[in-house]
């Protein structure tokens, strides 16, 4: 790091009276910001308040219409992005600019490769990048390809890239928008280490819990103006929210401890689905599903809530047989199905509504009728030949019941709206009495009318005796349908509570790992 030493007492950044207009939109009208060296400074405000514009002006991406910018006491008003980088101001954007087929090292040195003769000195590059990573507390293998990294790891590569280029003032634009809760914690660890090493960090965010957790100082921007600036210590989320929107806001209450309820459910009828100590390996994490146990009774919908990417997909795939379990046991109506194939599990009464209907749920170029029998083609076969008449007759009946439009069984599924495509998938899964239905994101991308119909069909299946595992990113859907709610976080089930004890307020913190 070869940056100019800060003049003693001078702030790292001082922006005064900044204004910026885009066409008819006055994005920033009179904003000021003062950031001291060695602090994490949160720039908070509602969407469109002008936070990102201010930071892009600081990073030299746009010139301001009015106002002055000083960095370490030096007037740099109107500088270019290249000069900002040279002067140690680096910005990590929401969308990463990495080449997936290159390694971490190659991405970090891209555009400034150390050479020996005409060749890139890859050994030296790797050494330097690895040293920089270690110095800044990044845990990464610099020889790994970027395409193999999780979003959080990619973000750390972006940060490393900025640091290697000499940044002492690091601007992060909504860095947690794409991260899962454990990745957020890892980011905080990295940022704290940078700050303790003398770095200056400006964090753009609109999430209050993040602000209070990580920042030292807060500047609030509202409608293009900086309206308040104060140290984080001693403020409350309510007062920050008040400053952000200019009036009092009701914040969700604290979470109750909900895990007590999990133990009280042994003496019940035989479960239709039992998952015991299930472990499933993931692509990025050693354990995508980490020692998960639960059971679903007949006539019960168990809602599985959680932020996406916490192992739900791996859990579903393991239950239906698309992915092998590393250890543990899965039982359908008492039969151990852990090592059985998809069709063998289906034959034992397990039905599945896959989360990605375009990829997994439908053969888009097959007709509605063919899609309705996909997976059950065996029962429509007589001596190897498909019984077309029966397929069509059953398709007409299913189209009628499920209200699939247009009602022509010979149409390719591709031509249907998302809601009608999903009705095909659901009609197929419910065509037969099943012990268990695994319903993943059953109403994703579906219009309101179809959602009602799909919910009604799921309830009807439950009332007819099916046990349903409902996985949804929509908490409202989980709460609308479930009899019990489980929360998945970091590959584990962190809580299972009866519906009566579940609410958005109580589940929210569990989903983000706050009280896990």
């Amino acid at each position: 790091m070869t940056s100019p030493l800060p003049k003693s007492g001078a702030p790292a950044v001082r922006m005064t009276g900044i204004a910026k207009r885009f066409g008819d939109c006055q994005a920033v009208r009179d904003a000021s910001l003062e950031v001291m060296p060695g602090e994490i400074h949160a720039l908070v405000g509602e969407n469109g308040a002008g936070k990102s514009t201010m930071m892009r002006i600081l990073a030299g991406i746009y010139p301001p219409d009015a106002g002055t910018i000083e960095v370490f006491g030096r007037d740099v008003t109107g500088w270019s992005a290249a000069r900002a980088i040279d002067a140690s101001v680096g910005m990590v954007h929401q969308h990463f600019m990495l080449v997936p087929t290159l390694t971490i090292t190659e991405n970090v040195i891209l555009g400034r490769e150390p050479t020996r003769g005409f060749a890139i000195d890859m050994g030296r590059a790797q050494r330097e990048v690895a040293e920089a990573a270690e110095r800044n507390g990044f845990r990464m293998n610099v020889r790994q390809y970027v395409r193999e990294l999780s979003v959080g790891e990619q973000q750390r590569v972006e940060i490393l890239k900025t640091l290697v280029r000499g940044a002492r003032i690091l601007i992060l634009d909504e860095p947690t928008a794409v991260l899962s809760p454990p990745e957020v914690q890892e980011l905080w660890r990295v940022l704290r280490a940078l700050r303790d090493d003398g770095g200056t960090i400006i964090l753009i965010t609109h999430k209050l819990d993040e602000v209070t957790e990580i920042s030292d100082t807060i500047t609030v921007v509202r409608a293009g103006r900086s309206v308040a600036s104060f140290p984080t210590a001693g403020t409350s989320p309510a007062s920050i929210a008040h400053a952000m929107v200019g009036r009092d806001v009701v914040l969700p209450g604290d979470a109750r401890d909900l895990r007590a309820a999990t133990s009280a459910e042994s003496a019940q009828p035989a479960p239709v689905l039992e998952v015991r100590n299930l472990v499933v390996s993931g692509e990025r994490h050693a354990r995508a599903v980490d020692d998960v146990s639960f059971a679903i009774q007949p006539n019960e919908i168990l809602g599985l809530a959680g932020v996406e990417g916490n192992g739900q997909s791996a859990l579903i795939e393991a239950i239906v047989g698309l992915r092998a379990a590393k250890s543990g046991e899965i039982r359908v109506a008492g039969t151990n199905v852990t090592t059985l194939s998809v069709s063998e599990r289906e034959a034992r009464g397990l039905a599945h509504i896959p989360e990605d209907r375009h990829r997994r749920g439908l053969v888009l170029d097959y007709s509605i009728a063919d899609n309705l029998i996909l997976g059950r083609q065996r029962s429509y076969t007589h001596r190897g030949v498909l019984d077309r008449e029966r397929i069509l007759a059953d398709a007409r009946a299913a189209i009628e019941i499920a209200d699939i439009r247009p009602a022509d069984p010979m149409l390719p599924a591709r031509g249907l709206s998302g809601g009608n495509q999903q009705k095909i998938v659901i009609a197929r899964a419910l065509a037969r009495q099943n012990f268990v239905l695994v319903a993943a994101q059953p109403t994703r991308g579906v219009d309101v009318g179809a959602i009602e119909l799909i919910h009604a069909r799921l309830r009807a299946a439950r009332d007819a005796g099916t046990g349903i595992l409902l996985v949804s990113a929509e908490l409202s859907e989980i709460l609308a349908l479930s009899d019990r709610v489980a929360v998945m976080y970091g590959g584990k089930i962190v809580a299972i509570v009866p519906r009566a004890e579940a609410s958005e307020e109580s589940l929210g913190p569990l989903m983000t790992g706050a009280s896990a």
Binding site: S343, R360, G361, L374, P406
Partner: protein, 362 residues
């Protein structure tokens, strides 16, 4: 999307589907005719005269037509082979080796059987040998893909070299009649020439294989579109993830598809060995395996389309001989290339045009 818009879909898709099936070959044909005109003009001949001579030499007389049918028979087999692979989402480039293996298989059984074995027993046995030999060659890349993920394009190409080299070695060390490239004549299993029933075909190589291959095309059509196996195979070809989700074993479907594919290409071997010369000869159908790719593409992987495309390419090939006096034979090879290129280019092109016109209507 409103309900009114949705009810428009049925009529539109039917029309679109017919368009999408018929238009690309027509566009390709048109382009190749224009290109052919230019080529003929370039060598200083009149396109009209050349095309007339070409038609007279192929569909214009019984002998020429018989030769077209003979060539189309082999091409139908290799075209069906590639088409079945494509339906399962696999690109079988190995029809060349599978065809040769099928030919030798048929010949070996024909040589092993005693002379005077009844034709009704011998011929089916020889055909079965051709199917098995080709199928075995197709099975290998199927397993390599299903078990180890080795891409079938690479493995089938490499297998062509291995199979052809192996056949060549077997011939030179064991089987061939000295001073020739072929085996001795088979003792049993030979098929009748068409001239036996229709004397005007006299001299042409067309033979009863034609009927057997047509039956095979019908069976492939039935298999693909009427049976459970075909249903699963096409689902795997269109969307392997959805097929897997439906409990279909994708790997097994791949193995099955490439085995059937190889068997169909192998069946093509009977046309020469049982129907025409009654012996196996090295290089008896060189190029027919690769041309099968073009036949399958022009035939849109549809068995009926494959038969028509095979007739088309057979006509080009035989017509090339007929017009040899006026233009160099290489011109026909060039024309073949143009047809394939036009076909490959026209399919996505037509799709795009249809898509944009549909948007315009809505």
């Amino acid at each position: 999307m409103s309900d009114a818009a949705q009810t428009l879909i049925p009529t539109r898709t039917m029309r679109d589907r017919i368009f999408e099936a018929v238009l690309p070959p027509l566009v390709a044909l048109l382009v190749s005719i224009v290109a052919g005109d230019l080529l003929i003009l370039a060598v200083g001949q009149s396109p009209g005269a050349v095309y007339r001579l070409m038609l007279e030499g192929t569909w214009g007389n019984a002998y020429g037509f018989g030769q077209v049918l003979y060539k189309a028979t082999t091409l139908t087999c290799t075209g069906l082979a590639v088409a079945v692979g494509l339906r399962a989402g696999l690109f079988n480039i190995g029809a060349e080796g599978q065809l040769a293996a099928g030919g030798l298989g048929a010949a070996l059984v024909g040589l092993a059987l005693p002379a005077g074995a009844p034709a009704l027993v011998a011929a089916p046995l020889c055909m079965l040998a051709a199917l098995c030999a080709g199928g075995a060659v197709g099975f290998v890349p199927g397993v390599l893909r299903a078990k180890w993920g080795a891409h079938e394009v690479i493995t089938t190409i490499m297998l062509n070299f291995i199979v052809l080299a192996f056949l060549s070695w077997t011939m030179s060390t064991q089987l061939r009649v000295p001073e020739t490239l072929h085996t001795s004549a088979i003792h049993a299993g030979a098929l009748q020439r068409l001239a036996t029933w229709l004397p005007s075909f006299h001299g042409s190589a067309a033979n009863a294989s034609l009927m057997i291959v047509l039956i095979a095309a019908i069976l492939v059509d039935q298999y693909l579109f009427r049976t459970r196996g075909g249903f699963e195979l096409r689902a795997v070809g269109l969307q392997p993830d959805a097929a897997e989700n439906a409990g279909i074993s994708v790997g097994r479907a791949w193995i099955r598809a490439l085995t059937i594919s190889g068997a169909l290409a192998g069946l093509g071997g009977i046309n020469f060995v049982l129907g025409y010369e009654h012996y196996y000869e090295e290089g008896f159908a060189t190029g027919a395996g690769f041309l099968g790719i073009a036949v399958a593409l022009v035939g849109r992987s549809n068995p009926l389309g494959v038969v028509l495309a095979a007739l088309f390419f057979a006509t080009l090939s035989q017509g090339g001989l007929a017009i040899n006096a006026l233009v160099p034979k290489q011109m026909v090879d060039a024309l073949q290339g143009v047809v394939i290129l036009a076909m490959a280019a026209s399919v996505p092109e037509v799709r795009r045009l249809l898509a944009s016109s549909r948007k315009g209507v809505r």
